[in-house]
């Protein structure tokens, strides 16, 4: 059990973080809070990937002198994938902010309830 909890604590942290973000996306009524939730959600996934790459006893993936052994370096692939995911997250946030500005221009509000009221 302790192995389940402590030996895999990285997964627990990411699951909790992801649930926080997911709840903010689904439950909050303010559009900016939803966007923040989306960012937390994406960060949680990034954390998960990065934690895959870790090897105990490994150092950062820049080759040093001498022969290269795979066990000496942490796994570079998740880092590469997450550079992409970070960029995607930044881009999505940028577009979402632009859309929020458009919403603000039309309804002068970012509360979902008020917007829905003003539409009806």
């Amino acid at each position: 059990m302790s192995e389940y909890l402590i030996g895999k604590y990285n997964y627990w942290i990411y699951v909790v973080l992801m649930m926080i973000g997911f709840y903010a996306m689904m439950g909050k009524r303010n559009l900016v809070k939803k966007l923040i939730g989306m960012n937390i959600f994406q960060t949680a996934i990034i954390l998960y990937y990065i934690s895959i790459g870790v090897k105990k006893g490994g150092t950062l993936p820049v080759a040093m002198e001498g022969t290269l052994r795979a066990a000496d370096y942490i796994n570079p692939l998740p880092h590469v994938l997450m550079l992409t995911a970070i960029v995607v997250s930044v881009s999505t946030t940028g577009v979402a902010l632009a859309v929020l500005l458009l919403i603000w221009r039309r309804y002068k509000s970012l509360e979902e309830d008020e917007i829905l009221k003003s539409i009806r």
């Binding site: 389940y4 997964y11 439950g27 090897k55 080759a63 040093m64 290269l68 590469v80 930044v90 632009a98």
Partner: protein
């Protein structure tokens, strides 16, 4: 809506936790992810690309096409912001 959101988040979290059981331990040097594809990236990076930084060599060479896609994503975001907030010649 809040309760619904909470339940959905719990359900998703539960699903993910259910999957944790069969995952390798944190920092396990013998996990499949460390053994299958990446050894080549680590061991051959100097030999094949003359680039000591493995993240750079994977990012720009082995999986360079992903990076092209990712830069395109950035361009998309920039042009999209301009499309949404500005007129063409301003």
């Amino acid at each position: 809506m809040k309760i619904f959101g909470f339940l959905v988040a719990l359900l998703t979290g539960g699903l993910l936790i259910y999957g944790i059981k069969d995952m390798p331990k944190w920092g396990d040097p013998n996990s499949p992810a460390s053994l299958h594809v990446t050894p080549r990236y680590i061991e051959k990076t100097i030999e094949e690309t003359a680039t000591p930084d493995m993240v750079t060599s994977v990012l720009a060479d082995y999986r360079g096409y992903d990076t092209l896609g990712e830069t395109t994503v950035i361009l998309t975001a920039g042009i999209a912001c301009l499309l949404l907030l500005r007129r063409d010649n301003s």
